[in-house]
């Protein structure tokens, strides 16, 4: 039996484009942060809001940030496919461009979900098992899926426009650092946070994703989480559309 084109492309993405070292770095880094930051800062910070301990605050944030990990891997696959002409090769084969994009985004989601699972496993001995209802679990996965689509779409749209590997990976790294550190992944926004930082943090989609996942972990969903979901869905739609549009007129010329 032949798999549908999108699934064949997803399988190919997993088999061909990701090497073990990259996976180790991409998933190892946040796992390392859970262990080190969680252990060291928990000694300094007695409690953080409704989460209680710092590690209980940190883990949902790191789990939410897996949407970035997935998106970065998808952006990397797309960039390498452009660099090694596999985009051109695949587009001249029995695939629609929309299927290639869908496969990239599905790969993003799968990587993000693998990341979520791995982070949960790493956090388990340190932070314990959260009591999640089925709805809360679905909301967590849905939030991460929307966030991964947003960041994946953004990186693919950028990758389609940029012709230099240096520029692409520099922008990607900068985006990653700004998005992760200017969010509520590692620390909360409090009354003492400078206004300018508050504004920036609340303009960051990862903040909404991290807050929603955190609310699910503390069983405290509220209207703000619905708003966050709607904002993430809207942003995901925008970047997905941008990525789709960039594919329509993709330049197959050399990239370096």
């Amino acid at each position: 039996m032949t798999l549908p084109p999108v699934l064949r492309l997803v399988v190919r993405n997993f088999r061909a484009s990701i090497d073990p070292i990259t996976l180790l770095v991409m998933f190892g880094q946040p796992a390392f942060l859970i262990v080190i930051l969680g252990t060291m800062f928990s000694q300094l910070i007695p409690s953080v809001g409704a989460s209680g301990s710092y590690i209980a605050y940190l883990v949902p944030g790191i789990i939410a940030s897996q949407m970035i990990t997935g998106a970065i891997l998808a952006g990397r696959i797309f960039w390498l496919d452009r660099r090694w002409s596999m985009v051109e090769q695949i587009f001249s084969g029995p695939f629609r461009r929309s299927e290639y994009l869908a496969a990239l985004l599905l790969t993003t989601l799968l990587f993000a979900l693998v990341g979520v699972g791995l982070m949960a496993l790493v956090a388990l001995p340190l932070a314990g098992l959260p009591r999640l209802s089925g709805v809360e679990l679905l909301v967590i996965l849905g939030t991460i899926a929307l966030g991964a689509t947003f960041f994946g779409g953004l990186l693919v749209a950028l990758g389609a426009r940029i012709r230099s590997a240096n520029l692409y990976f520099t922008i990607q790294s900068l985006l990653q650092y700004f998005i992760v550190f200017l969010s509520t992944v590692y620390y909360p926004v409090t009354a003492k946070t400078p206004t300018i930082l508050k504004v920036v943090v609340y303009l960051n989609p990862l903040t909404y994703a991290a807050n929603t996942v955190r609310d699910a972990f503390t069983n405290s969903f509220g209207p703000s989480d619905l708003t966050a979901g709607a904002v993430l869905a809207g942003l995901a739609l925008i970047t997905f559309t941008l990525a789709a549009l960039s594919f329509r007129r993709l330049d197959f010329g050399p990239v370096q």
Binding site: V11, A16, M86, G93, P254
Partner: protein, 325 residues
Amino acid sequence: MIVRADKLGFAYRPDRFAVRRLSFELYRGEVFGLLGRNGAGKTTTVRLLTTLLPPTEGGGTLFGKELRACGRAERARIGVVLQSESLDFVSVEENLRLYAFLWGVGRETAKARAEEMLELFELGPMRKRKPWGLSGGERRRFQVARELMHDMELLFLDEPTVGLDALTRSRVLDYLAARARQGLSIVFTTHILHEADRLCQRIGVMHEGHLLTVGAPSEIKRTYSSARTVEVEFQRALTTPEQEELRLLFTRRGEGLGTVERRGDLFVVRSRNPEELIAEVVRWAHANGAGLQRIALSESTLEDAFVQLVSRPVDTPLLPAGEGP
């Protein structure tokens, strides 16, 4: 008819055409060569015909369907060896199998075909190596082999033999010719003109985005090759007045090409009508008692014709191939 291009064109910007008013047809089992200098528009033509780029003027059909309406179903019937290197980050063997998987080829078929391709393209010893670690020629062989992992009715080969040694090139060309005899249609772009001469039933010469002419290699050579070379050697040394007389004859019969050349006792002249020139030389030698030691006529080459074609301004009217001067 497999492919029809009808005044097909593509412009990257309104004032910058890469391909303009391209018209030709390709039939089942035919090998069609696209020749042209760098930047002539060959790769853009391949991209248009493989539906990677939408035409900005004119149109055409692929398997009878309008190019603009072609999609996955038509692309599933074609294979493309790109000019640029394309590869996945796995071993050579895994690349072959993965590519077959992408095309929906069954596991057992893919396994058998991978073995066949590894042997045919002499990639067996490097099956476990990553393709980017191979030499340029090996990578090219790998790329052609990979494309042949799936079934197709039409194969586009964009400069497939670049970097291949003579023996490998010959084997690849033989294999492609055999596949064409089995019904595979091939569009083949190359800079290496004698390859096109050997493999293609018809050739299109492109220059600055325009298709200058289409025809069989022999027709193109006959029509556009400016001249053939005649070499004449006499049994005795010619006197100075005889040499001058002969030079005048050559110049006249060489149609003012100015290519009369003398290498020791050997006279070399290029002529558009070499048969007439030879007859004149024989008459002259007989009349002057200068016996002929040797007289030889070389065949015109596709390279001659190509140089003539691409050296003239694009808007110069051309005769259809086969209707030579």
